[in-house]
Amino acid sequence: MAPPVSAPKSASPSQPSGKSEVTDLKLQLRQLAGSRAPGADDAKRDLFKRVISCMTVGIDVSPAFSEMVMCSATSDVVLKKMCYLYVGNYARCNPDLALLTINFLQKDCHDQDPTIRGLALRSLCSLRVQNLVEYLVAPLAAGLKDHSSYVRTVAAIGVLKLYHISATMCHDSDFPAALKALMLSDPDAQVVANCLYSLLEIWTQEVANSEEAAREIETLYGKSIIYYLLNRIKDFSEWAQCLVLDLVSKYIPADNNEIFDIMNLLEDRLQHANGAVVLATINVFLHLTMSMTDVHQQVYERIKAPLLTLVGAGSPEQSYAVLCHLHLLVMRAPMLFSSDYKHFYCQFSDPSYVKKLKLEMLTAIANESNTYEIVTELCEYAGNVDVPIARESIRAVGKIALQQYDVNAIVDRLLQFLEMEKDYVTAETLVLVKDLLRKYPQWSHDCIAVVGNISSKSIQEPKAKAALIWMLGEYSQDMMDAPYVLESLVENWEEEHSPEVRLHLLTAVMKCFFKRAPETQKALGAALAAGLADNHQDVHDRALFYYRLLQYDVTVAERVVNPPKQAVSVFADTQSSEIKDRIFDEFNSLSVVYQKPSYLFTDKEHRGPFEFSEDLSNLAIGGDSGDDVIHSAQRYEENDKDLLLSTSDKEENGGPTHNGSSTYSAPSDVNSSLTGLVASSTSQPATFAIDDLLGLGVPDAPALPPPPALSLNAKPVLDPGTFQKKWGQLTVSSSQESTLSIQGVASLTAPQSLIKHMQNNSIQCIASGGQPPNYKFFFFAQKEGSSSFFLVECIVNTASAKAQIKIKADDVSASDAFASLFQSALSNFGSS
């Protein structure tokens, strides 16, 4: 082929000179349209190139549509392809003109050359014009039967394209069935893969409203198809292998032998140079072994080396994606990685988003054996030129200290940070020292000695200043000049821009007053006056509250402001374990990178078939509450905030008046949401926690339950809002797996049947959802003659006839009795 003649008007074809270009192009195209002169194709090529380059940079070249079509009668493949690209791009906005292209596309679909046939068919299906669909059916049907595998691959995806233009046309032509047949018989692996892509997408779209779709999906995830695909996995391209592996990860094997067979078959995929294949394989391994604690742990050991190799190989972007997954695994089972800590040291060339992940991992895996080395390394980063990372490193040191390892030495190091006299280092350290004191009040003497030397004037950052002021208030009896420092701060009230600092100042002056009244009286008066005049609502309100409290009764005021405090045992985790589990379920997806479950960042219509939403807001409300939508996503966002820091605003309200989000009292006092979070983050061995939380710890079939000693209120009342709140507050008291009878599975064609059945057993449904084979229910019941509720989350998989049950109870002692009652009700389902 001759090289294209360079255009006289523009030196580079991809740098169009302007919008007048379009008119010019139209004109030139028209001149060339009928020309059969030698060299006409070359001239056309050049013009077409200019058109496409305009299109690329976003200039609208659709006015030249008819001219382009006129020029398209050619045998030159390069020209054809450019024309197809153009037509595909603009057909949607020019449906009438698009009709002009049908003719030559249809003709090309019968070309001798399979490449031309394939290209034409692909372009034809890409037109995305509603009124042209009738022209697609015949070429598609022929394409699926074409003897060239290339044309068949194009046709298999073409069916999906047709489906998106007109679903009815696609079904009327019986294409899904044709795809399925092709998938099971075609010798070409890419054809099989494309059929699978199309079928999955089509049925997933319909699964909510069609039983047929649900059945089809179930078949795709069924044993025969999974085995069919697994047996020829090496025929597939690496990308299609990922698809197959993804499918396998959702398959539920019948027994352990099957699990081991699949894992042995896929073992060598862990050595693949393509990270996507390796991660997809790991996903299969992790999900298959969920119920086998020992093997699950072995899987962690096995996948460590390949993951670390992938982190080192490839581009920084690729290693980031792998590192995110490694991060997730480290966070779930830190002790399994405790000897690998050196791999997570930051490297000079690491971008900051990588360093951040590594710091978090180092924090998580610190234990008795490696804390000294990890902290030494982290201290090196504290003087780093990259200030955000330096800050992050200091925070990491603090977090390790809060994990209780080798606190002694760490406190010393933190205090050394204060001597570095770098603003941001001091600021970060102050915040940490404050948190440390809240947990280890016994260190107050050492800390106070150093902190006392810091001039409040040199601290600018609000968080740090607030921390310093808090310490001044809390330890005013030990810090000689506390009242005077506070007094000078009050004098500069006007210059203090952060309301957070002013709030802390008010409280600190109050605390100081109760300890050293004569010295503080003046400052307190000034502070209250300034607070009352403050134009920030919270500051004003707090000042007024203190003022009235003091007026009412000074001793009561002291009890409110300065109650005896217990040390914080565990700081709340920033993410609930439920969220973490959900992210783990979505292993090998963007959820892991964002550290958020997918429903927080994907639209509903773009979720996969099994990512059925767990938040109540997306489930059908079982009661009659109608539009009562619960914003649980919001709840998660609240949880996501760093409680460690955000609560510092409120902590002074300790004692009886404190609200639910305070961390400042003994766990028994905490009346609400934190209990769940705290309990889940305690130092239980992670693997056990994982399994228990997922309810997979008890694989045995349920024994016949003893006669229930518990009677339930037949008509309990609980509104969804309260349910949601309770669910968030309570911890899981019982988590088990149960088996459904065959009759039960058969009757469970829709959630309603089970809801009705459970109602007869005095167990009410508050919300339900999901698609076959996975259903999800939230039930509740109430103990007869009592106000204590039982809340149940029940996930039923009809394919495996298994149900996973999580019970939360107001009265934990009755939880077991209720659990057996629930189980017996469930196992009776379908038999009546």
Partner: protein, 451 residues
């Protein structure tokens, strides 16, 4: 599934834009570029490769100064998309010979041809350079590689090794050379990125080698190839601690922690005699990636010293010693050292008779920079610098400076001692004797000495 794919220049211009599914609005390229350019989230100044704006996921890799971007509305596997983007870049390079803004602009129609076949309706189809040949009809317009700044690992062979024809690695897999006949040749590159951290007292805190055996084949008819590695090569360590320096050192065997292989590699004889056999596909690909934490001799010893010299002055001494054979020469060496933030001026003193060395004080980032064109094995170089501060020194200034970081490339040197013993090509005829190039190179990934 991928909704769109586009390539943006450094300035944010669309060079190639392909919409596969019509799910994401047209302005996505601008949204992406603005977000990356002005990234300010989580205190970080660099956008991560994956982020979400208004329900659209933007996934990108940076290759040769260009952004290769995919958008998606679905919760896709990030690894899959990133691998795919990287592969698209590589396939494009296979076809164009050189990958840069100019070559893509000149060949954008060819790139569209590739994109049409690589992805259909958002689903990856084939990324095999070979398979794609039958669907690509445009001839690549070759860009003169000579006047372009060198990019990528291929570029480092341009300097130093005279045996290598400079254009060889930058030719297209489809272009025919002047004279009509294709030159039969195959390149095998052993590329190692090394990371070493020295403590202030000079001993090695951590060290790691990430290596890859890269192949680029221009052989017609895809003959089978056998690649033999060190016979005593062993893989995987038994103990739980991968950082046990006492064991295995000195015995001379190469112990890899782990490795992975390209699809085409057959490992039947690997366990017996450490031979990889494969039928290399066209174009460039990694035959094997490996990782090693076994102790190795670092190519450079770096010592750095900062000392007070008066109340607002200090002296810095940087010393590097090349611990390798005099037959080997390292090139493009850069040594950087952050200095206290209150440093005002720096004056440098190079050793007598130094050539090819430059020094600089980067005021914005408060860094000393020392560039050396080349260092011959066994040589030692020293730099002295006097710093003037804007304030009096308090505390330990060593804590305010450093760590020293070094960048370099050493052709024909590999730190791991992994060797290609031989490269055997199945003969098609007696006269068939293609060129084979086996090249080694070591690069610094993170080479840090603490103060």
């Amino acid at each position: 599934m991928i909704a769109q794919f586009f390539v943006l220049s450094q300035r944010g211009d669309n060079i190639v834009f392909r919409d596969y599914r019509g799910e994401v609005a047209k302005g996505s390229a601008e949204i992406f570029f603005r977000k990356v350019k002005f990234w300010k989230e989580d205190e970080a100044e660099e956008a991560p490769p994956v982020f979400n704006v208004d329900g659209v996921n933007y996934i990108h890799v940076k290759v040769a100064g260009l952004f290769f971007v995919a958008t998606s509305r679905v919760n896709v596997s990030p690894s899959l998309v990133l691998e795919l983007l990287q592969r698209i870049a590589r396939v494009t390079k296979d076809y164009l010979g050189v990958l840069n803004e100019d070559s893509i602009r000149k060949n954008f129609v060819l790139v569209y041809e590739l994109l049409d076949e690589v992805i259909d309706f958002g689903y990856p189809q084939t990324t095999s350079t070979e398979v794609l040949k039958s669907y690509v009809f445009n001839e690549p317009i070759v860009v003169d590689a000579g006047r372009l700044p060198p990019l990528g690992p291929a570029a480092m062979f341009m300097q130093g090794t005279k045996r290598m024809p400079g254009t060889a690695v930058t030719k297209s897999v489809v272009a025919t050379e002047p004279g009509g006949k294709k030159r039969e040749e195959i390149f095998v590159d052993i590329i190692e990125k090394i990371s070493v951290t020295f403590s202030s007292s000079g001993y090695i805190l951590t060290s790691e080698i990430d290596g890859t055996i890269q192949m680029k084949s221009y052989l017609t008819g895809n003959p089978e190839i056998r690649l033999a590695l060190n016979e005593d090569l062993s893989i995987g360590r038994n103990g739980s601690s991968l950082y046990d320096y006492r064991s295995s050192s000195g015995s001379g065997t190469v112990i890899l922690d782990d490795c992975n292989f390209h699809e085409s590699v057959h490992l039947e004889s690997f366990d017996v005699d450490r031979t990889l056999s494969l039928i290399p596909p066209d174009g460039e690909f990694a035959v094997m990636n490996y990782r090693m934490t076994q102790e190795f001799k670092p190519p450079f010893r770096v010592t750095a010293l900062i000392e007070e010299a008066g109340s607002s002055r200090a002296e810095v001494i940087l010393k590097i010693r090349a611990d390798f054979s005099p037959n080997v020469t390292a090139n493009t060496i850069t040594v950087q050292m952050p200095v206290p933030s209150y440093t005002m001026r720096a004056s440098f003193e190079l050793e007598a008779g130094a050539t090819g060395q430059t020094t600089d004080f980067k005021e914005g980032s408060r860094r000393l920079e020392w560039n050396l064109k080349k260092i011959v094995g066994g040589a030692e170089h020293t730099l002295r610098a006097k710093l003037t501060f804007s304030q009096e020194i308090h505390g330990n200034i060593a804590k305010e400076a450093g760590p020293v970081n070094m960048n370099f490339t050493i052709p024909m040197y590999n730190a791991s001692k992994l060797q290609v013993r031989y490269l055997q090509i199945a003969k098609k005829s007696k006269t068939y004797n293609p060129y084979r190039w086996v090249r080694y190179v070591t690069q610094a990934n993170s080479y840090v000495a603490r103060l």
